[in-house]
């Protein structure tokens, strides 16, 4: 139950010493594995496959971070967190980083004392309804019952969206994706709303995905990204530049296949700096110089991760859209490795 998790976290808060705030990187190295906070199961982002292995977009980022630190993609302890308990778990030190489809907002950044270090998926809140309702726009949803996961930004956006459009609704709050899906399937609610990417995953997991439609309206901006605790800048830098390396690698066409070869030939200066042939940027972060080379070889660049987990060739079938590189019409953009 969630209550007990909160209680445990509260106890953890009372017990742990002040050493928690700083030096997460050293603590992770000493522990030998990364505690990566992920969802309890959002298909495409982080969910267990048929063999019980965690798979997904966010999971690949956990693996990439583990490679950057240990050169071992499996040195990850996945901590499954609900929307409601994720920040408590992060603050209490149960997770070193959240790769948990978490929206970057001012309150969370400032008041919840989490640091967002980037955006790995630009998302927006969407609405899904059964096709047989014949609804084609979210503005036709006046009076509907809406399934909503508690403790999410979507809960607040939902209230804003319906109020702004002068519509009424009845919220049916649920604890997680699994319960929401079940209630939605049984018709206990007309509408299921959450981030568009997660809805695509839920839709793909239905026996007959064509029986449901995702409405075209996007009710909010949901920049999803990794979050760490306030007060440990070194750790925040590591997580930030691991993601930047993956995005920049795509920009310079460094892939899991050609990375080793590019590092060896060493003809392009920008590529050399990313792969650690020149510059010693990795050591500045407290990592090995070749951390990005290892990451890209073992996990792939941003585009490869996207295509493999949630891209158009997967059952989730999300287009790159906003998440294409800035050179290709999207807004994914990494500051330079220099």
């Amino acid at each position: 139950m969630k209550r007990s998790i909160f209680a445990c976290a509260a106890v953890a808060l009372t017990m742990t010493g002040g050493a928690l705030a700083a030096q997460t990187l050293d603590a992770v190295k000493e522990r030998g594995e990364l505690n990566c906070g992920i969802t309890e199961g959002t298909l495409g982002f982080s969910a267990r496959d048929a063999n019980g292995v965690h798979q997904g977009f966010d999971v690949e980022f956990c693996r990439a971070l583990a490679v950057a630190i240990f050169n071992d993609a499996d040195a990850v302890n996945y901590v499954e967190l609900s929307s409601a308990n994720r920040f408590t778990a992060l603050t209490a030190g149960n997770a070193d980083v959240l790769y948990r489809t978490t929206t970057w907002t001012l309150t969370r950044d400032v008041d919840l004392k989490t640091n967002f270090v980037g955006v790995n998926y630009y998302d927006g809140q969407a609405f899904m309804v059964p096709a047989e309702l014949g609804v084609s726009s979210a503005l036709e949803l006046d009076g509907a019952t809406v399934c909503i996961e508690v403790g999410t930004t979507t809960e607040l956006n939902l209230a804003d969206y319906f109020r702004a459009n002068g519509m009424e609704y009845q919220p049916l709050p649920v604890g997680g994706t699994t319960e929401a899906k079940a209630l939605f399937e049984e018709g206990a609610c007309d509408v299921y709303t959450t981030d568009g990417s997660a809805l695509a995953g839920v839709k793909a997991s239905f026996p007959d995905p064509s029986a449901y439609v995702i409405l075209p309206e996007v009710a909010s901006k949901e920049p999803l990204g990794p979050a760490v605790r306030h007060g440990d800048e070194q750790w925040a830098d590591v997580v930030r530049w691991v993601q930047n390396a993956l995005i920049e690698a795509e920009e310079y066409d460094i892939t899991s296949e050609n990375a080793a070869q590019l590092a060896e030939s060493g003809s392009i200066p920008a590529v050399n700096r990313i792969l650690g042939v020149e510059g010693g940027l990795g050591e500045m972060l407290g990592l090995e110089n070749d951390f990005a080379l290892n990451m890209i070889t073992k996990v792939g660049n941003y585009g490869e991760i996207f295509a493999r987990t949630i891209g158009e060739s997967t059952p989730i079938g999300l287009p790159r859209g906003l998440n294409a590189l800035y050179t290709e019409g999207g807004i994914q953009y990494a500051p330079p490795f220099r």
Binding site: D142, A144, H230
Partner: protein
């Protein structure tokens, strides 16, 4: 031996705190108490310091900030523009509502079940035993989820009521719609009421209280006549009329009408909705706690010596009167204290309602507010304080009632 009998005349020395058995236990208790308080203080201080180090010092200011979220069942006016504090009040009232409904229903189940379990009818008593054993031995959370699922997966959705030849139709002469989102019943309202709901309620309460006073006066008068003449006049019909006729007249005067629920858009509109989560939590809690009350009532009745009912029978008292005048007053002494702890359990168990989306205190303050404000320590402390207050209030009231039904020792 003379020494042992004589009181020790030596002066008090510090070492006596340990070596003198008269003081030793007190010393140990005081030391343990000090250690306990120090340990507790250390934990609390550590928490405050760590929170301050995290930049989150204890602060209840979030309660006055805009909540930004909606709640599906609100007994007082509320929407997403109200504060977190108001949302907490909404949650508290929802907790109290389901706890009250649960306590009443569980008590009814317990009373009927307890008597039936002592029935001489083999089938009836075994059926009640079966009910008790099944419900008592499965965690209440599962019963709540089962009750909720039995509503959401067996009842039709509002969509099924649509069209010329609908799959489902409203029951009880088209007045009640049982859907998987809850049960919609006609809502009473007054066409020519007294302006506000509060005034209407006051007038109704006044009429009922006046009726009760009349009934008491009438019974007293009957008692006096009985003492004087030996014949007790029949009071039932007069009392019945005193309780009902003025009320019915009042309803006519105020123009009592019912608004029937109608399917409009996605949901039924109008009427009163008893939401599925409320029904789920209420049924789950009542059926579960009811089993304990069955056993408590049974043990209470069995605790009264058989000689009591035999003595009553020997005096010519009828069985019904024996139960109400002889057995129950004595059984209550055993029943009430145990009932208190069941009421407390039920109230605390209502916090499990969050599992099926019931907007109680845990769902509002303990989940959404906690998450949106990020104030874990404050919300949890507040939750604990509120539940503690509710529990102490219930046990205070019940203890007072318990004292009033105890045998008065002379």
């Amino acid at each position: 031996m003379a020494d042992a009998a004589a009181p020790p005349s030596e002066a008090f020395r510090l070492s006596m705190l340990i070596y003198d058995s008269r003081y030793r236990s007190t010393t140990i208790q005081i030391v343990v108490l000090i250690l306990f308080l120090l340990g507790f203080f250390w934990l609390a201080n550590n928490a405050v310091q760590n929170l301050a180090a995290l930049g989150k010092p204890i602060n209840f200011g979030f309660l006055s900030q805009t909540s930004g979220y909606d709640i599906n069942q609100t007994l007082i006016e509320y929407d997403s523009t109200y504060s977190h504090g108001r949302a907490t009040m909404v949650g508290l009232l929802n907790t109290l509502l389901v706890a009250f409904m649960g306590c009443v229903t569980a008590t009814l189940i317990g009373l009927v079940g307890g008597v039936l379990r002592l029935s001489n009818n083999w089938l009836v008593s075994r059926l009640v035993t079966l009910y008790v054993e099944i419900f008592r031995n499965v965690p209440v959370l599962l019963w709540i989820i089962v009750c909720m699922l039995s509503i959401t997966s067996t009842l039709p959705g509002p969509r099924a009521f649509r069209g010329d030849d609908p799959e489902a139709s409203m029951i009880l002469f088209g007045n009640v719609a049982a859907t998987n989102r809850g049960i919609y019943v006609p809502q009473p309202f007054f066409e020519s009421g007294l302006g506000s709901a509060g005034m209407n309620f006051l007038v109704m309460a006044a009429v009922i209280i006046a009726g009760i006073f009349f009934v008491r006066w009438n019974n007293k008068r009957a008692g006096e006549i009985q003492v004087q003449t030996g014949d007790r006049p029949n009071t039932f019909w007069v009392n019945f009329a005193a309780m009902t006729v003025p009320f019915i007249v009042l309803m006519f005067v105020m123009g009592l009408s019912f608004e029937r629920p109608e399917l409009r858009g996605f949901n039924f509109k109008g009427g009163m909705q008893i939401q599925a989560p409320l029904i789920g939590v209420w049924l789950g809690l009542s059926l579960y706690t009811g089993t304990y009350i069955v056993e408590i009532v049974r043990s209470g009745i069995l605790s009264v010596s058989k000689g009591q009912s035999e003595a009553a029978a020997a005096l010519g008292i009828r069985p019904g009167l024996t139960m109400s005048l002889v057995i129950l007053p004595q059984a209550l002494r055993v029943i009430i204290p145990q009932l208190i702890s069941q009421y407390l359990n039920l109230t605390k168990n209502s916090s499990l309602g969050v599992a099926v989306g019931y907007a109680d205190l845990v769902a509002t303050l303990g989940t959404t507010t906690l998450n949106q404000s990020g104030r874990e320590m404050e919300t949890i402390l507040l939750l604990m304080a509120i539940y503690l207050t509710i529990s102490l209030t219930i046990s205070g009231v019940m203890n007072w009632y318990n004292r009033s039904v105890q045998l008065v020792g002379r």
